[in-house]
Symmetry: C2
Subunit: 230 residues, 2 copies
DNA sequence: CATTTGAAAACTGCATACAGTTTGCACACG
DNA sequence: CGTGTGCAAACTGTATGCAGTTTTCAAATG
């Protein structure tokens, strides 16, 4: 394991500060949502402690926090494992995501400032290039930002927290959503309906469009997740 | 420290099982939502440790978990404090609550089983007696159960989690909601509209009724909370 | 009298130590 | 050859100790 003191020191400076535990929470959460750690994978405290060059105490606190976030499952006297949800629960998370996005789109249509609307539309139009170029990765990044704009546009901090939290828990299960042929173009079109409704201040229409958009992604992801499992 | 093996064993048997940390999380969370600990109150680790007769380690883990739940605020090298949110954030939580309840009522209208509908209506009808008797406390208990029925009736585990979590964080700020004169009777009437819509399977109507119902409670609570603060 | 300062007290962050539990393996026994 | 049993290794849960930070309070100074 490449565990030189140098890399440790670098980590502490590069990943912006905070307590040891906070750094570990971010680092581990990142590994989970990006798929470096797969759902179901065991994470014993000693390995993590040596890997991050700290004692078990901060590791345990980080794992507990990740457990509270729903990213890892913990049982007494057992190793923590990367959260692996049942298909039923996965479905409920996707449905919740659709509902939450619908709320955000609806509220965005009502509440976004002129500046927010303008920059939403600009970013959306710009993403057309990525679709034509077939740039999966870049479009995925744009997509993440697009949805974050909707969450912020609702101007409700608590809903922002709920939707962000749900998105993090879903992340491990919807990687590669843009691998499906033709998905990029259709995603763009769906975004377009949402943006248009928001620009016109048509709250209900924006909500419905966002609901369908997420539902479509959900269906694709559930297929993906269930074919991959076991 | 009175750390006799006997008291240890007793605790483990009397307070129903789970790890030490889980017990503490439940106990402290309960103190917060019931108002034994007021928002803004400091909770230093040593006091809690001696109070629960354990070392600081499990206390720290419990506090971290409570922090992740949003019930306590933590900053590096400072004592944890019972979460004290800004008026703006409080407002966003109440709005989120309205939206979530609307979703639950809507889905309940579509998905509740015959049995669930029957027992919802029965419990609701029974609560009329409490209103006439002016039994604040008992009606509050019924009210909690009533809303829990809606959350379960939606048949979506993740939404259940989100709404439960939000309710817990709001609890400290809406105590005494039934102290306001005439509130009991109006609450019953509002419940009645929701129940009727659900029994008829009118999803949209149930959603709207639930949204208004919670919004009304929110307004009252915000007044209460802000008059009490500072 | 108000303000600054500095040292001690109090508390948090992390490491280490130890106790209790689970797991895996080897050996005995049917 | 399969199965059960017991021991050892590995790991989690909790306690304790120490280092570093914040807070408090009182004395000194203007």
């Amino acid at each position: 394991m490449q565990n030189s003191p140098v890399s440790q020191i670098k980590r502490r400076q590069v990943i912006r500060a905070g307590t040891t535990v906070e750094q570990m929470v971010r680092a581990i959460a990142d590994m989970i949502v990006t798929g470096v750690l797969a759902p179901g994978e065991k994470m014993d405290e000693i390995s993590l402690a040596t890997r991050f060059d700290v004692s078990r105490t901060p590791v345990r606190e980080a794992l507990r926090e990740l457990g509270a976030m729903g990213l890892v499952d913990r049982e007494p006297n057992r190793s923590a494992v990367v959260a692996n949800v049942t298909e039923g629960y996965l479905h409920s998370m996707f449905e919740a995501m659709s509902e939450l996005e619908a709320i955000c789109a609806r509220l965005s249509a009502e509440r976004m400032t002129v500046e927010e609307r303008r920059s939403l539309e600009l970013a959306h139009r710009a993403s057309a290039k990525l679709v034509h170029a077939g740039a999966d990765e870049d479009y995925a990044a744009h997509n993440t930002e697009f949805h974050t704009r909707l969450y912020r546009g609702a101007h409700n901090d608590h809903i922002f927290e709920l939707v962000t939290q749900t998105r993090a828990r879903l992340a491990p299960f919807r990687r590669a959503q843009f691998r499906l042929p033709g998905r990029l173009a259709r995603s763009y079109d769906e975004h377009d309906v949402i943006v248009t409704a928001i620009m016109r201040g048509e709250a209900a229409a924006a909500g419905h469009a966002a609901y369908s958009h997420v539902a479509i992604v959900s269906d694709a992801s559930i297929v993906f997740a269930s074919t991959k499992r076991n």
